[in-house]
Amino acid sequence: MNIKILGPGCANCKNLERATREAVAELGLDAAIEKVEDYATIASYGVMSTPALVVDEEVVLYGRVPKAAEIRDLLSPATA
């Protein structure tokens, strides 16, 4: 599973990255987490409000930092 955090490096992007890493560790997922800071790449996902979370090339969340439980929910279906 491939997870990308889109964000130019603002405080919320860092929060999202931390929360995602925690969720991945808790769920025991085998996932590669990548940070995308390049504006052109971020925009190419159609995202305009950062930060955004991309799972297997699909934008699942953007524009806010969700609670840890919500990230776990978003990542869990992929394990099933």
Binding site: P8, Y39, A40, A43, S44, G46, M48, S49, T50, V59
Partner: protein, 349 residues
Amino acid sequence: MSLLDRLLETRRGRGLTLVTATAVWFGVYFLNEHLWDWVLYDGFGMDPEARLTGTIHFFFYDSIKIALLLVIIIFVVTYLRSYMSVERTRALLGGKREGVGNVMAAGLGVVTPFCSCSAVPAFIGFVSAGVPIGVTLSFLVASPMVNEIAIGMLLTLFGVKITAIYVGAGLIIAILAGWILGRMGVQKWVEPFVFETKLRCKPVDPSRALTFDDRVTMGIEEVGTVLRKIWPYLLVGIGLGALIHGWVPTEFFTTYAGAGSTFGVLIAIGIGIPLYSNAAGVMPLVQVLFEKGLPMGTLLAFMMAVVALSLPEMILLRRVLKPQLLAAYVAVVGTGIVIVGYLFNFLLA
């Protein structure tokens, strides 16, 4: 788990918390002035007429008042804005011609939740979806210039008329600035990579399925986030306001920057541009300067210069705009602000 967390677990607990919070808010708001009267005059035996007392009283009273107002304003604004998103705005603007597009973009710029840190992805996203550059620029000018928090503060501190002037003037500047820049054929001054950006997957769904509880939670969190971010600016602004309130004689401003003053507006803008603060931070200052007799046109120009033309945002936009376009942007918006300043000094005099 803290008591608050447990209360927020259930619907009834949340309602109870909201009611209690509202009651506390009103209590503190109405006791605020009396509290500081009592502490300073009775507690410390300070002379109510002395300048130092006035300054200290203003600082504490205003800090609490502005903080309380901000809590309500940020909460309401975030709740309402949760119905909009930059993605939805882009969908609305797609395929719009210049002219109509500029008007819509400026209006949407006011209501769309937008942080200047997203200015670059938003610019690329708009342009790659076929929104004309001028229309995109109208959005980018209106978004910081007509700030909802400023609207809320102006409404409570100055009333409907001044607020309407601020919103109207800001919208007109954004519409015209975007339209003029679009007419200038500025395509060639946009970094080429913007046009090469292709959407690799379907655009994200703009309708974020949020529940009422989600929106309320977002509102509460935003209050915390914004207050944590802006409190230093706020305290500096209130501190300056308190000093001016206590020590600067009214004649000083009316003599050097009154409504008839030739350079008052230009000086205000010159001071406003490098001031990297935010709408909430300059409001206490604007309030005091108004009491001291500074005309409203000059103050509006000052406020707009602080929020609409900031160096950090220019540095961000430099990623997508070439220096020529950036210079034109600052020149057009700056000219608009100067005109607003002089016009309203004249009209409101």
